[in-house]
């Protein structure tokens, strides 16, 4: 049943024009620029917070991915510097969207293993933490109450829309790899957006330890750093039924 969507509503119009999944006959969904606008749910009364509009669900894969080889990382952090200086005009490793500093001295597990860990004080490996440009369901985007994580039109990278972002950092709590950054001055989240297809970290690495490759799914290949504390908002979760429920 329609939920507050008028007959001449553009969404309804679009829904009628495009039929992408014939099996979802009544619960149709629309692919608009790779996002699914979920409007027809059983839980009709549940609306996401943004003024009655429907939740954004990212569907499209990113075109590319930045991957790192820890056996080549030499710990110079020029990747973090390039990411922030060249994008933000500030040398700010804490904000960097590629994360190396936190693994530099003792490895990803931190200091608990002492010399038996990795990093400069341990066995030497420096692991570069990188955004996996997760496929659907995208944890950071789905956790966002404001649909502020959208697609970059060129690369389909998952990128923060700073106009919509309210800095609540639910996205950060949702990312199993803790890849979200937060700008405490602008009070906005930020994340890897692949620099329009020419990642600056890749360009900056003097050891060729980072590469930009065709996207593939690493979400089940690389162990999470944390157990996520936040997941998709109920409104978004409810829309799963629109496609997946038979």
């Amino acid at each position: 049943m329609n939920r507050g969507i008028e007959k001449d509503d553009p969404v309804e119009g679009a829904l009628n024009r495009v039929q992408l999944n014939p099996s979802c006959s009544r619960r149709q969904f629309l692919k608009v620029s790779g996002v699914a606008v979920m409007g027809l749910t059983a839980f009709g009364a549940l609306v996401n917070g943004a003024g009655g509009s429907t939740p954004l669900i990212i569907m499209d894969q990113a075109e590319g991915l930045v991957i790192g080889d820890p056996t080549k990382c030499v710990g110079c952090r020029r990747c973090e510097l390039a990411c922030t200086e060249f994008n933000d005009g500030k040398a700010w490793p804490e904000l960097s969207r590629i994360k190396v500093t936190r693994n530099l001295a003792y490895g990803p597990k931190g200091n608990v293993l002492g010399q038996r860990g990795q990093g400069n004080f341990g066995q030497g490996l420096i692991v570069q933490d990188l955004c996996k440009q997760c496929p659907h369901p995208v944890p950071c985007a789905d956790a966002c109450p404001n649909d502020a994580i959208i697609l970059d039109p060129k690369t389909k990278a998952r990128v923060v829309d700073t106009e919509k972002c309210i800095g609540c950092m639910m996205c950060q709590r949702a990312c199993p790899w803790e890849m979200m950054s937060f700008d405490p001055e602008a009070k906005k989240a930020t994340k890897c957006f692949l620099c329009g297809g020419k990642p600056k970290c890749v360009e900056a690495c003097p050891a060729g330890a980072i590469r930009y490759v065709d996207w593939r799914d690493l979400t089940r290949k690389i162990p999470p750093r944390v157990a996520p504390a936040v997941h998709a908002s109920p409104a978004k979760a409810a829309t799963c039924n629109d496609c997946h429920k038979k």
Partner: protein, 703 residues
Amino acid sequence: MATFGGWAGKVLRVDLSTGRISTEDTLEKYKDVLGGTGLGYKVLWDEVKPGTKPYDSENKLIFGVGPLAGTGAPSNGRTAITTIYPTCWPKPLVATGHFGGDFACQLKYAGYDGIIIEGKADRPVWLSITDGKVEIKDARHLWGQGIRRTNLDIVQELGPTACVAAIGIAGENLVPMSTIINNVSHSAGGVGSVMGAKNLKAIAVRGSGYVRIAGDKAEWEKVIKHHLALLGSNNQHVVPNSPQPWAEFSHPGVRWVASKGRAWGAAQPPIDSGTCDPHDLNRIAYRTNNAAFYLGNIAWQYTVRGNGCTSCPIRCHTLLRVPYLPEKYGNGITENIQSTCVRLLFGRFFYKSFTDGFLGRTAFDACMVGVYLIDDLGIWDNYGQIQRDFIKIYHEGTIKDKIGEAEFKSYSWDKYAKSDPSFLFDLIPRIARKEGELATVLGKGTGALFGQWGLPEEEWKKDEGLGYWKMGHPQHHSSLEAYQLGAIINTQYNRDVQCHTHQNFLRNGLPIKEQKRLAKDLWGSEDAVDDIGMYTPMNLNKAKMTRWTLLRKELHDSLSLCNWMAPVVASPLKERGYSGDDTLESLLYSIATGEKMTREELDEVGERIFGLHRALTIRDMGTKEMRKEHDTFPDWVFKDRQGRAPFTPGTTHMEKNDLNLGMDMFYNLLGWDKATGSPTEETYKKLKLGYVAEEFEKKGLLP
């Protein structure tokens, strides 16, 4: 007050006597001297009275970095640590130790351009700096621990991103030949015991902030990439050390050691260093392997990767994994050893020879043992002087004479005689613990051989092989390779000159014809540089290069640019005629800070900082007669061991009149009085050091 980029804006002041922690405005007080050594000299000038001794609570320890520290400017990771220096003999004067690692950038991200440590804590403490939160904390559980344990303990509290700069037991025990170390292998020489005298075990910094680039970020990106495109290997060597397809030249003596077939053998799996075309900026880190360069090809199989300071693509430290070390040498030695340059060579330098040669297994092992010991105990080498001194006093029987029989017998001399590296476990820890006469004297520095044992300094000054210069410290890239320039710069400091501005260029591997051509643009004439073993009489262009050498050293140490990688006046690019860009410092400064300065204007700031160092030395020596009493040359500089005359092929020994002419020209270029070698009142004023002129007027220290 205009807001500038680059600087963090605050200098932290910590009084360990009172526990008072305060900040000052960097730009209000110190902008004229930039930071780094400039900051250190200014604080000593303003606040530390002449005659203050290194371990007095009135002495200050100033950690300084500059506006470029923490940025993406290549190689900005060094911190200058300025103080009244304990190994300066017979009278301690101002000098600086420096270290790399990631202390400099962390300090900036925490919001500080420097730390002034004053006073003395009444019990062991460590300083915790986490952004705006600064605390003096109890270090009694750390006192007596090695530097590596100290690091881990503090990191348990502050997290693994904290940078810990710590002293070992050498610093705690007030051994003058001691270091402060951060990030495993980055050590600052000669300053550890000053920190120990203040009961300060460590400074830990964790910063989550940023350094603002004032200028247009696209322009900054362009300049950074331009800088990277001009880089060579470590020490800005611009040709490879073996013929490579892309290279017109090669030189077996340079640090650019990458080649197909030379691999990081202990990377898992190994990584071939490859041919490293200079246009490929993603391979800069493979050009240099200092373990292989110094220890020989034996090192490649043990090389895990390069390492080094934040922001530097060069990776002049090598991380080695040597699996047989623990079983072979015990004593807690680790498989992983990392270091560079003279620190890497510490162990080997103690031995006169090895049956399997300097590039063989035994020498390699000695280096591993050496690094393991000195970077945990926190011991300094004084640019190889402690080892040269040891070899001399051992072989001449002096040790046996000077120390009691009981102590002599307590050493395993049979091991030393066989060049067994395990002898180092016998000697080095004793130096850290000040155990026995020999260890105590060695730990005091060369000056103690003269002062305490009464050995004649003249003997050291006559012997080229001992490498001694004056005031308890050695020559460093002196007349032996840079003729008049090298001799002159070695007179100017109160420790070894620790300057690579000139040496980077002179050893960059380009044939002399190319170097001369570049020299013409840089210093006015081809005559500014000589071919090795073919040096020519002094001329004005050499003096100009000498002045440039020292100003740029001070500029780098104050901006935070590594003096082993800058200036970038030559490049590996044939299409540029191998030229670099002598305006890089001013370009980087202008964009980062937002204050536009030309090369000449920034060099004037370097001259100011260098002038302030001169003033401090004059003031604390209490004399203006610098030419006579400070700027001296050891006798060996003028004596050729094979009796060759000056200016003849093969010799590197100087001629007195010619060198005096060099000093005249050098003083003249700087505006210093020829007779005394002291800056004139006019020069102080021109350098905006009018306050120095005022004080010197009263004290009669103006020429």
